[in-house]
Amino acid sequence: MAVNLGDADADELPSMLWGLDPVYSAYSKLYITDILQMKESRQVPGVYFYKTHPLFQVDVLGTVVYKRERDDFYCYGVDDSTGVISCLCWKDEKWSDQGESSKCRDPSGSSRGFNIEDELKRLKEAERKSTMLEIGDLLRVRGTVKTSRDAREIRANCFYKVNDPVMAVQILHMLEMPQLYRKCYDQPFQMPKDDLGGTEAGGSSHFHRLLSRSVLALKEFLLEKEVARFRPYDVEFLLHPLIQSCSAEQESDQPGTSFATQIRKLLKETLSVLQDEGQIFRKIRTADEVYNVTEQDKDLHTAIKDVLREDTKREKYAEKGCHVLHILSSVRQRYSQNLSREVLEVALTFLECNSDIISTTEAHYTVL
């Protein structure tokens, strides 16, 4: 499997930037046809893309054309004239025992003034009634988009019947939606201006995108080829297609920088990111730049297991296991003084996934 980045996340915004798009955090008011047709993200399932915007929560208004009721939920089919989607609306348990109490209400309510209990009961009753709809009623649903059994549906977080006797709400909706699309959803996502980078705003955001792609490429390569150790020039080739594709797009990068310089800069930043994450490390700091891959370094794993095996025999650590920092200092003595905490954490997680070791608390480990 060659690492083909041509179409992998070329169209999609990298996931670490999603939070910057306000559409992602909002319940987007989209036409149902768009909700049904939008593509699921290749990076994270459960998140969808409408043009350049990532989103997973929507707000729809439409006529109920289908109804199915069970003990604990309603399934309403909502039609907004562009499409029909089913909405899964969970019933609230607090409404289930309203039957008896509603009868003993004081109908006039005026004589006693403000009785909080009665008012609360009336409020609960009103809430409950607003969730019971029939075919032909107008429904507003705010919820998460889910794909189940090849069909898109909305799992409602909030839903209620809209009283619209003179169609005012629907008219407003029809007038408002094109505006929203023109101003917001159809506009391509713009990265906010970044003043920290020395380069132009367009340049630094472009570089971020490039960086996340190169980090991903390198990680995939190291995993697939089970690389235990490498030098920078061994993996440089992975970055070539990224730089080539970006210069073809003619972004406003620094003009005049050569291909080699760009590659070198990108490689340096990528290795730095991976080191900070703990995925790779340099065992010995010499002129020769050799990187070890944490999850593939058998010697490191053996060192950690030896430390745990020996120390958990001691009374001090027998019950609770060894704290991460203790393991860190021991492994540093045995294996490499340059080991960072991040690298150790990655290795410990890896070993735990393989059931070689066990964590007794969030920061303590032991071996059986």
Partner: protein, 138 residues
């Protein structure tokens, strides 16, 4: 399982070729007659000083309180017959919307159509006169 979406159409469009047999539509009009025994109602609308009538089969939405002269909003499937009665709408929903601002409703429907037409220029949507000046007024 789910019915097809019902597209907004005006009464005067229903008898034309814009609306196919079997299409799901939503429309509105003034109730001018109702025969409960036959479950038949007639909605009427006006455009350019011409009256347009449409028959509605109300079997699925009965019983309802018929108010003659009131505006009704109806959603359902069109059946085109070759006979004199023209098209019949088999209503799935019917609601009294008396008091609706007809001009504003028409404007909203047109605005939405203009937008759909903008998005999909290759599709053959009704070629209505789209006035972008609506956007400036809002």
């Amino acid at each position: 399982m789910l019915p097809p979406p019902a597209v907004f159409h005006f009464l005067w469009e229903i008898s034309t070729d814009l609306v196919k047999d079997g299409a799901s539509v939503r429309t509105y009009g003034r109730l001018i007659s109702y025969e409960p025994e036959e479950s038949k109602a007639i909605l009427s609308g006006q455009q350019s000083s011409a009256q347009y009538n449409m028959s509605v089969q109300t079997t699925l939405v009965e019983p309802f309180q018929p108010t003659l002269g009131a505006q009704y909003f109806v959603l359902g499937e069109i059946e085109k017959t070759d006979g004199l009665s023209g098209a019949i709408l088999h209503a799935r929903t019917l609601s009294n919307v008396d008091g609706v601002d007809l001009t504003l409703l028409q404007k909203a429907i047109m605005e939405q159509r203009c937008f759909f037409k903008e998005r999909l220029p290759e599709m053959n949507v009704q070629a209505f006169n789209c006035k972008p000046s609506y956007m400036k007024n809002l």
